[in-house]
Symmetry: C2
Subunit: 139 residues, 2 copies
């Protein structure tokens, strides 16, 4: 069975990752809930090197002061090409925080498309950012 | 600060989730590595109710006999609408398995676009499938 795949892979630098993050506003956050990974889509805003999104209490319980992964990608199915990047870091509930960085972020507009109460503002402070562009062998 | 968001949310049934899974071939898998969630995009195939994708040894160490989340979505940014679904279950390395179900899945063509060695075939057996359609208030 063939297990080596042809194609092209190019690592993205941190600056390019940050530019892609800033240019988009829908991503996916993964957290650990009862020992299992879960993935939720979120509307987000990047401010400097923080990723900010709104969430509800049940999710917050697993996302604040917890290690998170955040991922965005763009895929062209027809051309079998695209890019993907991942941020890892810790989530901080800054809804009621009084420090100046949090007060600045509290004024950033983040409007989820999913209806319902999302009273908590979560800040993901990245520790690592990595990404790559890829192109399949049929491209 | 406004924290209740308008819009529409419709839960997807399991049959609709399976139909969407079958109709797509690029998703994202989350696993836990050293206590941290990570998210990787993968090319996948659905066969009956198994999700099958290829992977490499480093990832396999965290994905086989481990709890995984698998997610796909489709978002229309302009209309602020889309859908998202998540599968949770356990990953099984079936590369060398001799049971009839695994032998059947070993013949299913799964071709990653990302180049390089991906010698292991992973089967995700779903325990739960859930999803929703959403539409933002500006749609």
């Amino acid at each position: 069975m063939e297990t080596e795949y042809a194609g092209e892979l190019e690592l993205l630098g941190e600056a390019e990752c940050l530019a892609l993050l800033t240019a988009h506003d829908v991503g996916r956050v993964a957290m650990i809930v009862d020992g299992q990974p879960v993935i939720y889509p979120v509307n987000y805003v990047v401010d400097k090197n923080s990723i900010v999104f709104r969430t509800n209490w049940p999710i917050l319980a697993h996302a604040s002061l917890a290690l998170l992964a955040f991922q965005i990608d763009s895929v062209d199915v027809g051309r079998q090409s695209g890019w993907s990047l991942m941020v890892q870091g810790m989530g901080h509930d800054i809804t009621d925080a009084l420090d100046s960085a949090s007060e600045h972020l509290q004024a950033v507009p983040v409007s989820p498309w999913v209806p319902g109460p999302q009273p908590r503002l979560l800040r993901l402070i990245p520790w690592t950012i990595s990404g790559h562009r890829f192109r399949g062998h049929q491209a």
